[in-house]
């Protein structure tokens, strides 16, 4: 922790960063995302087992973009989000300095994005057993059973949009649900509109989701929404061999074009 604080202080003094995104202690259980704007605030930064939030989502905040030179601390999921967002050309107007703490509790300051890629590729996560089990369970359901399973879960959705808010890949300045002329998706949080919302969300994230699981973790009604995108990722990886958040120049399967593609229809 001391190393993290010292290094960040050094970065501020050198002028490498003008804003640092990390974690601080809070009065409620869990670490609170923290924005450090000066050397004096560096002592707020902490690291412990509660630091699970995917901080990459904050890189879209206007206040963060304005800071231009941004330091960010995060776990593998955060690093993967950064790589995926770089491959979607999202950080053309900010300079990123990326840090992590590895499994041996050692602090790492990455000198370049190539180093982040190397680290991520060496520590590439798998789905958890629990996630695999749930996806398998859904796979073996009949079409009708699957429909009922999701309908039952989505009927409880309150449309708080926390799943959207915590997702680093949901960065549209105006979301489809915010359009009211025409209104593509009903505002009322009832089963049919809820299903429209979650289907739309999953489709937009297909092959872009990095499986950080934040949306499922934070859902206040406990809907495992992350399974939808996790399953789509499995399918895309099977069909196209794509791995999201694996490199900063990946692109994503549903939005890339290769003139040498073996499928003739694409030419």
């Amino acid at each position: 922790m001391e190393q993290l604080q010292n290094k960040v202080a050094e970065l501020f003094e050198k002028g490498t960063i003008s804003l640092m995104i990390g974690f601080q202690d809070g009065m409620s259980k869990g670490a609170v995302p923290c924005f450090v704007e000066s050397v004096e605030q560096v002592k707020l930064l902490i690291y412990n087992s509660y630091c699970k939030n995917n901080l990459a989502v904050y890189l879209h905040k206007p206040e963060v973009k304005q800071a231009k030179k941004v330091g960010i601390f995060g776990n593998v999921a955060t690093l993967r989000s950064i790589l995926q967002l770089l491959s979607e050309n999202q950080f053309w107007n900010i300079e990123l300095t990326v840090m992590t703490i590895n499994a041996n509790q050692e602090f790492i300051l990455f000198e370049s994005i190539a180093e982040v890629e190397k680290y991520v590729q060496a520590n590439f996560p798998q789905l958890t057993d629990e996630e695999k089990e749930l996806i398998e369970k859904i796979n073996t359901m009949s079409r009708q059973e699957r429909w009922e399973y999701w309908k039952d879960l989505f009927s409880t959705c309150i449309k708080c949009y926390a799943c959207r808010a915590v997702c680093p890949m949901c960065y549209c300045p105006q979301c489809t649900v915010e359009s009211n002329q025409p209104q593509w998706i009903k505002v009322s949080a009832q089963t049919s509109g809820n299903m429209e919302w979650h289907t739309m969300r999953a489709m937009h994230l297909a092959g872009r989701c990095i499986n950080c699981g934040e949306c499922g973790r934070i859902c206040p009604v406990g809907i495992p929404v992350h399974l939808l995108t996790a399953k789509m990722n499995l399918d895309l990886s099977k069909e196209f061999g794509s791995k999201t958040g694996y490199s900063a120049s990946n692109g994503y399967a549903l939005n890339s074009f290769n003139p040498n593609d073996k499928e003739g229809f694409i030419r």
């Binding site: 809070g26 009065m27 409620s28 259980k29 869990g30 670490a31 609170v32 995302p33 923290c34 924005f35 509660y50 939030n53 989502v57 904050y58 905040k61 206007p62 206040e63 409880t156 309150i158 449309k159 708080c160 949009y161 926390a162 959207r164 808010a165 915590v166 915010e178 009903k186 505002v187 009322s188 949080a189 009832q190 934040e214 973790r217 934070i218 206040p220 009604v221 406990g222 809907i223």
Partner: protein, 335 residues
Amino acid sequence: METKLLQSSDIPKLFDNLIKSGKVIIAPITKKSGKVFFERISSYDQVEKDYIQTQFSAKSVVFPKVEELFTYKKTDTGIEITDTLSQIPEVVVWGLRPCDSSAFDYISEFFLKENPDAYFARRKELLTLITISCPKADDACFCTSVELNPGSTAGSDILLTQMGNEYYAEIITEKGKAVVESSSDLFTATEPKTKDEFLAKITYQFSLEEIKERIKTAYDNAQWKHESMGCYGCGACAFACPTCTCFDIQDESDGDEGSRKRCWDACGLSLFTKHNSGHNPRKNQTERRRQRLMHKFKYSVENLGIVSCVGCGRCIRVCPAHLNIFENILNVTKE
């Protein structure tokens, strides 16, 4: 106020009587996700007995997440409108906590004071609240800081406090009396008792008088930014909150028929204040979070004379960013 005793073993009988009365019974149940929600139940077996707090408040019985105000249908002769007001049922809520029932006092002021809302008024009229005092609490609970306590009777029709194998019942209103009378064989008279030893101990976080005074000048405090930068901008806190009352009216149509609906809305969502021109007077999340917190401790006091935070701690438990309302309030009102 009448006080009675009810044996724990008689509670299923009380439930049977309530269910037989034909009223809709709403009680805490544990869902597959492991979280506890208020839902309609048909037998006492379904009711969760061991919970600190439900995930969401009981406000949805008077202010549903989606309330159909009326439906319409175009016919050969004109337009047929069905008023949904007459379809509102009699409801009994069982097992809400004292913080939740006290919140009904605030939302009633909000919906009924100036331009009484017919739907709310009807739901409230047909509603009975049977509250259960809190035997335990967690570190998100802070009702004592907002001048309530785990045995407050505010807003309840009956307050039950478990004392060993029996429940001590405080019968506060006529509606409460009606419930007792319909199961009079289950209740026995008793002298008023002290509840303290049976109530949860809640950590005292702040002096409400001090906060109310200091927040008057907190609007421009630079600390708001640090306290709210982590806010993701979702509506989880507002939807879980027992006193958040913002809504959005929506018309949903399908060909020649449709309905008008009142849906929950939240000041934390950027769309809430966004104008058609694209201009948003609350331009960032810091301003939106400040609005929510200042409403609880300042604006509602100015408008209705009530602090509209009941210290239930739900916003703290559901916040994806682990933001803590009393910590934020303390930090922006520091001298």
